[in-house]
Amino acid sequence: MEENIAIELKGVSKSFGHVVANKDVNLQVRRGEILAVLGENGSGKTTLMNMISGIYYPDEGQIFVDGREVVISSPKDAFRYGIGMIHQHFKLVDIFSAAENIILGIKDKEGFSMKRSVAKVREITERYGFVMDPEKKVYEMSVSEKQTVEIIKALYRGADILILDEPTAVLTPQEIDRLFDVLRRMRDDGKAIIIITHKLHEVLSISDRVSVLRKGEYIGTVNTAGTDESSLTEMMVGKKISLNIERGEPEFPRDRLVVEKVNCISHEGTKLLDNVSFSARSGEILGIAGIAGSGQRELLEAIAGLQHIESGKILYNNPKTGKADDLRDKTPLQIRDLGVRLSFVPEDRLGMGLVGNMDIIDNMMLRSYRKGHTVFLERKQPKDLAETIIHDLDVVTPGATTPVRRLSGGNVQKVLVGREIAAAPTVLMAAYPVRGLDINSSYAIYNLLNQQKKSGVAVIFVGEDLDVLLELCDRIMVLSSGKVTGVVDARKATKEQIGLMMTGAGVEEAEEKAKKEA
């Protein structure tokens, strides 16, 4: 067994300022094995992998490759030891073809030959069963194809220790299956594979062993065969928690927001939203599923008055006046002046929802600073609100005057969601509100959304984790390339069905296909 260990970490530590990202971590990966590194967001998984791939240098500890101690101080070193990392954010040149991207930066001793390179790329794709056209340009590729290019890029450079950082985050269930098949084939070929994830069911389905990190510390390694979801969660979070979302039946749902045939075109002339129609009802959570970049952002921004639309209507049924107002092409201020209580938790928290360098009080003020007739700001109310939110939502912060960029992801989100809810909205839109949050914070956010639903708010929830969407929402609308492929009942739909709809299949077609596959 000993000589089989491809890479070993002993007592590796790394800190950034006072923040300890990794503390005394030990890890072993054998050849011909898939090791899952499991941990919540912020538990130091990515930092650890970045140290193996030469992006960071450990403060303490040793790294062994094939039993010999090595020093990896740059990605180039990592390549020399056969370590290849596939990052969450792809590093490809858009206007180059797949093959061109793959050979970029490699010094070929026998001289440069595109033909030979393409042949070698083809050989790799066939060997592991990748689906990829080496001549295709990157800008024409889907996310999953780009990921394939990244993996082949690493293999082409002779990597036999592969690290994949959250590879499934951007894929549909079908694409995940395909990726896992490829990974298994690579494992059987003798490669050592490390896969970073925080999704338990993926860990169970793909890995041979699991190493768990919690708050930067190494908790332990278990054999996948001998473990289950709840014990992994316990290792990950440090205590037993129940992972059920309470879902009540919607009470007296009424159409609050009706979107009719909305079209939206980008600067380049491509359709971002294509004839989108749906309604969001009061007392209900409407989920929006889709591959990243299928028009989710544009749709929410169009409703919020931040995105110009070519045609269509966005009607708001005002519960106070009983009138229907068209929000199309109104600015956020005009929308508010109409008496529309629309709250929006955007995807980009610190770049749009909040100002990172401002403290919590000043961030509360974003929504309310215009109040009053003086030219001066009134900081008393925002201060009270900030303190209420810190108290009610358990925001961990030194105080209300701490810049929000200093807070952790979960606390940043609590501040943002807290502010948006404080406006007593009738429509609440949240885009990826739990992205990057640990389990406890995620559930806190789900609870907040559920409370809003109970109090009669029409909640629109754009999510990426289909399991969560199916558990939390009442109805799920699926977007594919800016089109609505269908709206399904979240209590009846299956993940496979939604996955197929995300790639463009209609409701019935997807249902049938999903059944057949199952």
């Binding site: 094939d66 056969g82 100002v355 003020m365």
Partner: protein, 380 residues
């Protein structure tokens, strides 16, 4: 650095030789204010030591004598102190003008031109209206026209930025040259005496349009006006709704859009203000201090102001200190080159060394350098 073959195939390469990075640069947490000021103080000290060494090597003078002269000559007489305060006030005024724009992340490097145009408007009023209308009215007209001129000069690039998203850095920079050329044209038109190539003191006989003096102190009025602007700007940026909008736009235009701030409106409004204060600086330079105008009336303050503003992190109260520092350095350096008969460039060297250390110290406030310790041998 020696490259080593660490191929998996060659076990010989497992030798002890390592290419371990020697230093690490690590981002720090926020430093308490007293620590960051201690770092800055150390930087000044280090700058003085390095300057001393450079002084000795290049000139053979005793550096302590040089420093003593620098301080002494700046404060030795009442006149010199007033001079220093006046220069400080003028630099501070321009710095206050550029601050709201920079806080908004609008790179207004056109303060030089805006000051000049403000000064030109002042001079024009003095020359064309001097003696024709009552003096108090003349001063009012001068004030209004200089503020307007500065504001217009600044708002042109802002309008283009808002409308067509042009690059404000290049635009404001170019507006400087247009301003300078306009001034040199009007210097020719109004030159006194003809053929001298300069305007000379305007209305020297009747003192029309000259600002009154407070008591017997020539510069006191300027200093008071700038002090008032300093406090007003501090309040405006920190406690007014406008100031808040400027901060939001500067931090993130997306957030501004999200909460319904019209970014264009804020850009235009803020540049009007920025230009208006530059106009006031021009007014004070021409109407109250020099009583003439040349192409160098602004004297590079439009650029130095940027440094003043950034060093003070856009805080108008801190800017009093940073502008003092820069004015003192400049004056002091000039003094020593005169007293010790050194080349004028020598004073620039000293100023450069000191600024380098002060700006460089910000690096040590934000980052930490770690020297890597030898590997801890894992206990087996």
């Amino acid at each position: 650095m020696e490259k080593q073959n660490m191929n998996a195939a060659s076990p010989a390469a497992a030798a002890k030789k390592k290419r371990e990075p020697f230093i690490h640069i690590v981002k720090r947490d926020a430093m308490p204010w007293y620590k960051s000021w201690a770092v800055r103080a150390c930087a000044v000290l280090a700058a003085l030591v390095v300057s001393a060494v450079v002084t000795m090597l290049l000139t053979g003078e005793n550096p302590l004598m040089v420093y003593k002269t620098m301080v002494h000559r700046s404060f030795c007489s009442e006149r010199r102190i007033w001079n220093l305060l006046q220069s400080l006030a003028m630099l501070l005024c321009v710095s206050l003008a550029v601050t709201p724009a920079f806080k908004m992340r609008f790179w207004n490097i056109g303060a030089e031109g805006q000051v000049l145009i403000g000064g030109l408007a002042t001079a024009a009023c003095m020359i064309l209206l001097g003696g024709k209308i009552p003096n108090w009215l003349l001063i009012v007209v001068m004030t209004v026209s200089s503020i307007l001129a500065g504001a217009i000069w600044a708002v042109i690039p802002a309008l283009f930025k808002a409308k067509w998203n042009t690059n404000e850095t290049l635009f404001t920079l170019m507006m400087n040259y247009v301003g300078i050329q306009l001034v040199s044209y009007f210097v020719m038109v109004w030159e006194v005496p003809k053929g001298s190539g300069k305007i000379g003191i305007i209305n020297q006989a009747g003192r029309e349009g000259w600002f009154p003096t407070v008591g017997e102190y020539d510069y006191l009025l300027n200093i008071i006006i700038v002090a008032v602007i300093t406090v007003a700007m501090f309040v405006y940026l920190r406690y007014s709704k406008h100031g808040y909008e400027i901060a939001v736009v500067g931090e993130s235009e997306n957030t501004a859009r999200y909460i319904g701030i019209s970014v264009k409106k804020v850009i235009i409004r803020t540049m009007l203000l920025s230009g208006a204060i530059c106009g006031i600086a021009g007014l004070l330079l021409v109407g109250s201090t020099n009583h003439t105008i040349t192409t160098t009336t602004a004297g590079g303050r439009g650029f130095t102001a940027i440094m003043v503003s950034w060093l003070a992190k856009f805080n108008p109260i801190f800017m009093v200190f940073t502008s003092f520092l820069l004015v003192f350095l400049e004056k002091g350096a000039n003094e020593i080159s005169t007293v010790f008969r050194l080349n004028q460039s020598f004073s620039d060297i000293i100023t450069g060394i000191i600024l380098f250390f002060i700006i460089g110290s910000e690096f040590f406030i934000n980052y930490q350098i770690k020297f890597h310790k030898a590997h801890k041998e894992a206990a087996k």
